[in-house]
Symmetry: C2
Subunit: 343 residues, 2 copies
DNA sequence: TTGTATGCGTTATCAG
DNA sequence: CTGATAACGCATACAA
């Protein structure tokens, strides 16, 4: 029988049990172990073990002004990208002694706002944000209050802060060149409404640039997952035109959710063997990509999460410097869907 | 310009600004609004707005002993099941005014232990656990200390607490009957090592029971995702035997990760049109199930998460009752993979 | 080397 | 109705 009942031991209990003052306990806890006599140290150890004492982080944080809490706002955990970034964040937090306070907006924009409020309330020391649609001012509150902010995947207009994400231009260029190299005459870039999300915007622009530079044929289709019909119809038109003209057309999805939606549509259109009849690739290497034999760009998600925490950590350690931008390279994973001999 | 600089306003600042005492501010914050004169109330409101004041949850928690924090320990966020449960948890927490402290063990058993420690340290009011391999004693610490525990998906030997999950016997029976109804002569139930995980154990047992009751042919293959070769070989043997004998055999994966692994294997074995050549179904309706045309049992994941929080909430409100068990029904989602006319 | 006193931001107790 | 004042659990300046 270790624990008493109902109430966790406090530092005072430990002090009494060890027959000393709270200060010594506090010293022991904070590793100022050299300042303690071996005897006292032993008594303290014993007392802690006996009472199963765990220092109260809340009280600790209240006193010293930092509670080791880091806010992590995710737009959509349903997107494997987010989960992977999260893994990196967690690992880095653990290594650096932080505790991530994970907030999942589930694609709801006011959830996002509410969570941001909550994070304020819990006095997180810093925030990592993969935002859906927060406005610059909301985050300003943090940085203005001395709470560093790191953006992930996308930047926010009017807000200058550290940001880490995929090197979109390079990634899109890599992918587009691959398609052209494989002999596709026409490429359809499919992306969610992109005006307001920087990463989508950059990807779309990079696509047009690359296609242009290569002198190849290509166009963009905007797919709104909340109203898919128009985009799917547009895709069909292109597919049919291509079939008529006898050209080879490739579909390039700007991220995993889009890829899934398009894949489902292709399956509906061509049947179970749609993979033999259409060429689809995408950014984001989701778990079913291998199963579908789909070529992808794999994002360095884990590193993105890790870097984000490191950025935060540096600021928290007092580093004073202009906003940084860390763009990590994506990796082309070639699978059957875009093979030259395919169509 | 709302906020000052560097330091968030405290209740004292607000009191000074409003020309009153801290007590009144506290009263205002806690909704004891009827006890305040309209005039004072207005001044307080103004002061709060002007200073952009946010009460400090840490201090609050320290004082009143509850910080509205709920620990949520997840074994593996890579499993869509977990993410979906999480959605339910988050929604319920939000509705009830709790903040979930999400801990992702990422399939590492000592991560799990460390996180459990951390949760203690942050004095969470309750914990929801989807455990990988924690031992009963670790959780005992919580319940013994008056911190309620709710188990999700699986129970833990030697620990009696509230638990919520899928009604596995019913779900497996439903699935197995479906397969037999569709005319399969033989069913291969594929499951990860199941001795130590109650949900897997129950599913396997339910499978044998149902197959027996139906007088049908069936057997179990144990697939260890860390050492897949033996299981995959075993599957191949069965597949070949079935082909020779000319019988119809179905593969029944006990969860999504297993289903994915098996699907990949089938693709390797049969090529891109493996879906036409093999019949695979699974528990867990992952996002690619529709794409692969795979029949599944969809778990009521969202409700599972919601119920877990509700259970916790009731305990936190002081409900005193024996441990409860909430088993929610799964839903059979029939797709092409198990259609009668298939093979 | 050790202990005392004070305060972190809130709420609760008790007087006015 | 309102406002001092004492805790909550801990860390730290200071004293011993």
């Amino acid at each position: 029988m270790i624990a008493s009942a109902e109430r966790r031991a406090t530092i005072t209990d430990v002090a009494r049990e060890a027959g000393t003052g709270k200060t010594s306990i506090s010293r022991y806890l904070n590793g100022e172990t050299s300042v303690l006599s071996p005897d006292l140290r032993e008594r303290i150890e014993a007392a802690i073990a006996k009472l199963d004492y765990r220092p109260n982080q809340m009280a600790r944080g209240l006193k010293r002004g930092r509670n080791r809490l880091i806010g992590m706002l995710l737009a959509d955990l349903t997107n494997p990208y987010s989960v992977e970034v999260l893994q990196g964040v967690e690992a880095a937090c653990h290594a650096l002694g932080y505790m991530p306070l994970i907030c999942h907006a589930a694609n709801e924009i006011d959830m996002e706002r509410r969570y941001l409020q909550l994070l304020t309330t819990y006095r997180v020391e810093g925030v990592i944000v993969n935002a859906l649609g927060v406005k610059e001012e909301l985050l300003q509150t943090f940085s203005r209050g001395g709470v560093p902010v790191v953006l992930v995947d996308r930047s926010i207009e009017g807000l200058v802060t550290d940001m880490v994400g995929l090197d979109n231009p390079a990634a899109v260029s890599l992918a587009t060149r691959h398609l052209v190299d494989e002999g596709f005459d026409d490429v359809l870039f499919i992306v969610q409404p992109f005006r307001r999300i920087s990463s989508r915007r950059v990807r779309e622009a990079a696509f047009r640039d690359t296609i242009g530079a290569l002198g190849a044929q290509g166009s963009t289709v905007v797919l709104d997952l909340a109203d898919e019909a128009p985009a799917l119809a547009a895709i069909d038109v292109q597919l049919e035109a291509s079939e008529e003209k006898g050209t080879r057309i490739a579909l390039f999805a700007a991220n995993a959710p889009v890829a899934l939606r398009v894949a489902l549509h292709l399956k509906e259109r061509y049947g179970a063997d749609w993979q033999q009849r259409a060429a689809l690739m995408s950014i984001d290497d989701s778990e079913w990509a291998e199963l579908a034999g789909m070529t992808t760009i794999r994002q360095p998600t884990y590193d993105i999460g890790r870097r984000a925490v490191e950025f935060l950590h540096e600021r928290l350690e007092g580093a004073r410097m202009p906003a940084r931008e860390c763009l990590l390279p994506g990796e082309l994973v070639v699978r059957a869907s875009t093979r030259r001999d395919k169509l």
